[in-house]
Amino acid sequence: MVDEKRAQSPIDRVWDFLISLKLAITVLILLASASIFGTVIEQGRPDKAAQIYEDWLINIFNKTSMFDMYHSWWFLGLMFLFTLNLTCCTLDRLPRVLKVVRNPKTIFDEAFEKSLSLAGRWRKKGSMAEWTGKCTAALTASFAAPRITNDGDAVHLYAEKGVISRFGVYITHLSIIFIFLGAIIGNMIGYKGFLGLPIGDSVQFVPVRNGSELKDVGFRVRCNNFWVEYYRDQFGNPTGQPKEYASDLSIVENGQVILKKKIVVNDPLRYKGVWFYQSSYGEDKPAARMLLRRADNSAPPETFHLLFQRGEAYGVPGMGIVRLLDFQDNFEGKGPAIQVQIEKEGRQPVPMWLPSADPELDRRRGDAYVLSLQGVEQVTWTGLQVAHDPGVNIVWVGCTLMVIGIMIAFFMSHQRVWIRLSPAAEGKIDVAVGGAATRNRLAFEKNFEKIQGELKELQS
């Protein structure tokens, strides 16, 4: 790859490496091979791997981030190298292509004529001006309007089509950079979470990062109702396989219902850039019914549920995050109780038991809010995926560009036709025609023969 004759500085050598096709192919194959590991070793499940592989292998997996491989430093490094490679290739080649496109070869000299496989010559009676006009008209009609250049005695016509095909590759490369950019933006400022929302409840805080963090979405989402419909067998009895499930959701902002929509799988709700997707559901699941009051009774009380599942938490603006830790059927002989901790910025969370028998217990905390357990009941909840991804539109732009770029690169061809007219003896004109195409030469050859035939048949 490296040009030996040129004196090379280390920077040149690095550059030549970065723009080399060898690097491109190597990185593509490396990315493909590396990706295989992550499909064989189940991601995020070291517990499963521990049952299959030996300890020393697990050790290696841990050291090389094999359980979160696609976000590991080495995989991201490969992606970076990939991006660097295609950026450098573009920077290296695009200016040259632009130069060729801006300054096409308009002079059809004999040496160039010999280098073309598609060429023809003949002689016609008439004047230069007459034949220049005729050829220009014919070429415009059957191919494209030519550019006319006078060179000494001779006149050169140059016509081209599909010049954009030279850019297909660069559009495709650019599209990949768009997709990566969109993905990076989405990862940096976007979030994704899962919400199990019981019928009748509303929330403003959505658990993200597997529930380790609660995100304030800036408005409340309420589940008004939830339905599930099952497939029926040939006798009309439900089979237990869901055909469709749907939630009726409301968006509530400043106490006002802003938006109401019934969502089903594949038909999400969007508000202020946050999408709510119907994802799963739970029927008749145990949950703690909680009552939230103001200590000074300045606002009406609210209720919400804490589902009995690991990491369950509920956020209250101004109060903090209530996280469920434990549950007992009969706590110290006083009936059901749950253990929660209230997480507020700048305060150490302290676990406390809330028995349903003692609703005033939480007043001891001295907060503006008083939390109590009303009881334990069965609820039906709708499972919502929540996503905010400001980069996704950039990704779609990238995807569209990619399809367009690939189509241009593969199915379009830069086709060029040259004609040279030069005066010959006895008031005759020598006509020379040549053609070239970057791709799909077979089809161009037929087209060229047709154009040439038409030109030959022209009479003065």
Binding site: A24, K243, V392, F410
Partner: protein, 289 residues
Amino acid sequence: MEPTVANIGYNIYFFDFTMILLGIASVAYLVGLYGDKPSISRVGTWICVLAALSSFVALGLRWVESYQMGIGRIPVTNLYESLVFFAWSVILFHLFVERKYESLVFGAFVIPIAFVTMLFAHFYGGGGAITPLNPALQSYWLHAHVITCFVGYAAFAVSAGIAVMYLLKARSEAAKQTTGVICMFPAAKALDELVYRAIIWGFPFLTAGIITGAAWANYAWGTYWSWDPKETWSLIVWLVYAAFLHARITRGWHGRRAAILSIVGFLSTIMCYLGVNLFLAGLHSYGGG
């Protein structure tokens, strides 16, 4: 769910008929090739046309029958259906290539792929039952996603078949053989070009297939890419063919190495299409169970 008459339907008789036709067409192409009888190969072509029609009728009937069963969806949603659809795509793509390049020898290498696919569907496709769709699959994206992916897969299958022909032909040309079956193949250079041509048809379709899959996933789950094994394998296939296309630009990667890369590409396509469901866990439904 155990397949019963009610959820199988009459369409599978047409699919079985297609399978038998493809078996006969494979034999006709092979006999035509080895016996140097183009007229027999020509019969193979007509049987292929019939098989394509029979498949088409079967798919249409299956679509109608799914509505009669109260399920109602495009017949490309489980292992059986995806296999028969793939076989149909291969037949169509093959007929297109055969007509365009006017050579009857491809059939002997490509149609057996379709035949084996139909056999596999018949014996391992869960009896061809029409299974209800889970809600995540009920989307218009399904149509665009499946069709683009399968046209891509079919193009790669054709390319790999021709790549095998290329390897045989190149060896025979190197040994200056003048007799035997392989001499009837188109010239190695033409085959090499076809390996490439089929891929430049397949690549945009695979790209569109991956993108429609991502768009759909984003619409269903709010994530366009989650490194699910199926997604990852489709990316692997894409990367292999991207490598092929880049390698093709340099002169060194014509011929033998390009043919091998095309075969590697098709093997990863098979892994993406079937292997992932058979060996790995993931989102896609046609796991055969």
